[in-house]
């Protein structure tokens, strides 16, 4: 007991320094007004100096010593965010958040003034999810900016941004964003439960958080959609999903996410229905092509020359005639080469990457064919499937697909088409079993829901979108759309 009392009373430079591990950045400024002294504590690189000078020091100097007490400062300090000292141990936490601790030794009380100057970059165009159509703005690393952007776009009092603090050593703010008149309350509860159960020193990024939320951590597939586009987040929460933001991370986690939502872009919403249906199918066909095209080549050339169309046979045979490797080695060699190129391109600065792309892609490919190490048809096959894998709008899904093709190619090289079918069986059973925040991953195909197909597999004209996706089990099932009578009225109709 004695120990606690002592702790609560003793606030001086030494104790605060101790709390902050003797940080050399800690500034202790004493301001004397008449017979009163006021002590300011802050970390000099976390605060806005001008704000301290103008709003605190000069304000104190302009006050009389009689005026100055805790309540006066609370009421009159020209600073937006002011907090009272409750627990001595909180001092370090607030100072680390960029607050200035104003201590009044005469009253043995203090308060925190928010003069923080957080590290922030300006809002920029989205990098990883680039769009042709629609809003270009993307989230930044600052949580408050992200929420600001979101609030700016959705002026709806029902937009809930619940805060949870996660991380044992590094406290990190996590926001759960949803529309509370639409979202399934059970979903929110289960997300909160899972978040509260996470025990971790430091959540580095929202992608790390997403991995903690995974239903099946061993899966190849990303179970939550990561996006840096505010309009995508808004579209998702409008359909009854939940977005999770993490401070210091520019990407939001959308849960639940289904397999097909990884092949959807916001452009699909903006474009006309035929266009977006065609483009969406193009991306899905590209996915299938990307996984299976090389494998089919390997299987056909190794085991099933019977299925090769007779017109292609001579061309294919001639390109293979001089190759010293079996088809599977040849294919793996090229696939690995393409992945090397991609990885090198991602790591290098963009100017060098361009040169490397030309050297790797054109020179190396050409030379390999001329040296007789690979057949030129395989180069086309591999390049086409690599190209297809880049069409996936989600970077994570694209990468998953790229990796997935290797086991399939090996199966094809070992067992031919039978191997591919075995691979497909494993893949399908896995996908059917997979869930994302307890929502079936393959919805609406399994469990089948014909009403939801229009949200996931194709798009229809606007008037078909009366209901929200049933998969999300929203509270408010009906979506408000423009009344039909209204839209049918022409300008020259009598009112």
């Amino acid at each position: 007991m004695n120990f606690f009392k002592k702790q609560a009373k003793q606030i001086d430079v030494e104790s605060i320094k101790k709390q902050l591990s003797n940080s050399p950045d800690l500034v202790n400024r004493t301001v004397t007004v008449g017979n009163k002294t006021i002590e300011l504590y802050f970390l000099k690189n976390l605060v806005n100096r001008i704000s301290i000078e103008k709003n605190i020091i000069s304000f104190l100097n302009n006050s009389t010593s009689e005026e100055i007490n805790l309540n006066y400062l609370f009421e009159h300090l020209p600073i937006t965010e002011v907090k009272e000292l409750v627990e001595t141990n909180d001092i370090s936490k607030y100072i680390l958040d960029g607050f200035t601790f104003i201590y009044l030794p005469s009253e043995k009380k203090g308060l925190f003034a928010g003069v923080g100057d957080p590290v922030e970059r300006s809002l920029e165009k989205a990098e990883t999810e680039s769009l042709v159509y629609g809003p270009k703005i993307s989230f930044t690393e600052s949580l408050s900016t992200n929420i600001k952007v979101l609030r700016h776009n959705v002026s709806n009092p029902n937009l809930v941004t619940d805060e949870i603090i996660l991380g044992e050593r590094v406290k990190q703010k996590v926001r759960i964003v949803y529309l509370n008149d639409i979202v399934d309350p059970e979903l929110v509860t289960s997300i909160k439960d899972r978040l509260n159960n996470i025990e971790i020193d430091d959540i580095m990024d929202s992608s790390v958080l997403a991995q903690f939320l995974d239903d099946n951590p061993y899966s190849f597939f990303p179970q939550y959609l990561m996006t840096e586009l505010p309009d995508r987040v808004i579209y998702s929460i409008n359909n009854g999903r939940v977005a999770i933001f993490v401070d210091r991370s520019p990407t939001a986690v959308i849960c639940p996410s289904t397999f097909f939502s990884f092949f959807e872009t916001t452009e699909d919403v903006y474009l006309r229905w035929i266009l977006s249906t065609v483009l969406r199918w193009l991306r899905m066909i590209a996915m299938v092509l990307s996984i299976f095209f090389t494998a089919i080549y390997v299987a056909a050339v190794t085991f099933h020359y019977e299925v090769i169309p007779s017109r292609l046979l001579v061309t294919l045979g001639q390109s293979r005639a001089q190759i010293p490797f079996p088809p599977i080695l040849e294919a793996l060699l090229l696939e690995i080469m393409i992945d090397l190129l991609r990885e090198a391109g991602a790591r290098l600065p963009s100017k060098v990457a361009q040169t490397m792309g030309i050297v790797g892609g054109i020179v190396l490919g050409q030379a390999m064919v001329e040296a007789g190490l690979t057949s030129n048809i395989l180069i086309i096959v591999v390049a086409l499937s690599a190209l297809s894998s880049f069409t996936a709008p989600s970077y994570e899904m694209g990468t998953a697909i790229r990796i997935l093709r290797f086991p399939i190619i090996i199966l094809a090289g070992v067992w031919g088409f039978n191997g591919i079918i075995i691979g497909v069986c494993f893949l399908l059973t896995h996908l059917l079993k997979l869930t994302s925040m307890n929502t079936p991953y393959l919805a609406p195909l399994y469990p089948f829901n014909s009403m939801d197909l229009k949200y996931f597999l194709f798009k229809l004209p606007k008037e078909f979108y009366i209901n929200r996706p049933l998969t999300n089990q929203t509270l408010d099932k009906r979506r408000l759309i423009a009344k039909k009578e209204k839209s049918d009225r022409d300008i020259d109709d009598e009112m």
């Binding site: 085991f303 019977e306 090769i308 007779s310 046979l313 045979g317 001639q318 293979r320 005639a321 039978n418």
Partner: protein, 372 residues
């Protein structure tokens, strides 16, 4: 996880039990297979293989050897190439006409059909002359090899012209069906392989040929959609009898037409008496003299063409009856009646030449060109 890992490792070890490795470039891929009957009663097999060396001008090479049966020939052929002889891309099988006449082709086709790598859509043809010579010496336009050329030609002929379905499946199924006989095209080497006529079979032995024009009636009776062209000539007297006016000084006029639709109807009066009627819709393509195709004249021309075709049809049937071959399948139609359901091949061929087959062709002109 460990369990899954063990399963994966164990299954990969099973690769030895899997498929035989058949890497494309190591295969001697045969596209054409041909059999000749030699004078010493042995059979000579010829195979055209694809070769994949891009530096050589030819994309095929041909090997042949003799033996008593197809497997012996194959064994000998294997000695002549460093590739595995495979038949998964086989497109055409050809038999010398003498072999088909003397030996029948069922035995050789049977082994081919039992081979699971050979599809049943492989075309079968008869060669007038030596198959080996045809495979070795013919030219093949822009096709990469002789196999592709013959395959493309047959595909075109079956789909758009006058040949019947001639793949292994059709042959074998007609072979086993009582009262129908298969037909096959006859090729002859004339720089390129040319479809010369159609071979007529009694069970599996070739008994004669009919021209492709005559084969049109077989195709019409099977009710296929595309039939090629036919030209008939009508003497002027007949036209005059019908009071159709044409230019003076002509002996006959030629009418070319294209059948577009046909419907056949068999009326079986008894085992020895069949009435076969054929309704054909045609499109007139070319007339050697101008005829005014008004509705009256059209009717008259229809009548003339019908008469002409009917006569032709009759003569073909009597020719086939002489050869004891029944590609129209009168036998199977008779057998389909309950009272004759016990009809067997032997019995049918005994009575077939004596069966009275009445024919009744009626032609309808659907189009006479854009002018009308």
């Amino acid at each position: 996880m460990i369990r899954i890992g063990i399963v994966v490792i164990l299954t990969l070890m099973l690769s030895g039990c899997g498929l035989l490795n058949k890497t494309l470039e190591e295969q001697g891929i045969s596209t054409v297979l041909g059999y000749d009957l030699l004078d010493n009663n042995k059979i000579k097999g010829t195979v055209a293989l694809l070769q994949f060396n891009p530096n050589k001008p030819q994309t095929q090479y041909i090997i042949s050897d003799t033996g008593k049966n197809s497997k012996e020939i194959r064994q000998k052929l294997e000695k002549k190439t460093n590739h595995d002889l495979t038949s998964g891309q086989l497109r055409t099988i050809m038999f010398q006409d003498r072999l088909a006449q003397e030996r029948g082709i069922k035995n050789l086709l049977d082994t081919i059909q039992r081979d699971n790598t050979i599809g049943s859509l492989v075309y079968v043809a008869i060669v007038n002359g030596s198959v080996e010579e045809l495979v070795n010496k013919s030219e093949y336009e822009d096709a990469s090899d002789i196999g592709t050329y013959i395959y493309n030609m047959f595909e075109k002929q079956v789909d758009k012209e006058m040949l019947n379905n001639i793949n292994i499946h059709d042959f074998i199924s007609l072979y086993y069906e009582v009262g129908v006989d298969p037909t096959l095209p006859v090729l002859k080497l004339d720089k390129t392989p040319v479809v010369q006529s159609v071979a007529i079979f009694n069970v599996d032995k070739m008994v004669g040929t009919i021209s492709t024009q005559e084969n049109l009636y077989i195709k019409l009776s099977k009710g296929k959609k595309v039939f090629g062209y036919k030209t008939i000539s009508i003497p002027v007297e007949e036209l005059k009898e019908e009071e159709i006016s044409i230019e003076d000084g002509l002996e006959s006029i030629e009418i070319s037409f294209k059948p577009t639709y046909s419907k056949s109807d068999y009326k079986i009066i008894s085992k020895d008496h069949v009435v076969f009627s054929l309704q054909v819709s045609i499109e007139i393509n070319e007339v050697s003299s101008t005829i005014d195709f008004n509705s009256e004249n059209t009717k008259k021309v229809e009548k003339l063409i019908s008469k002409k075709m009917n006569n032709e049809f009759k003569s073909i049937i009597s020719k086939l009856q002489e050869m004891k071959s029944d590609p129209f399948g009168f036998g199977s139609k008779i057998k389909s009646l309950r009272q004759y359901s016990k009809l067997e091949d032997n019995e049918w061929y005994d009575i077939y030449p004596k069966v009275l087959i009445e024919t009744n062709v009626s032609v309808k002109i659907k189009r006479t060109g854009v002018l009308n």
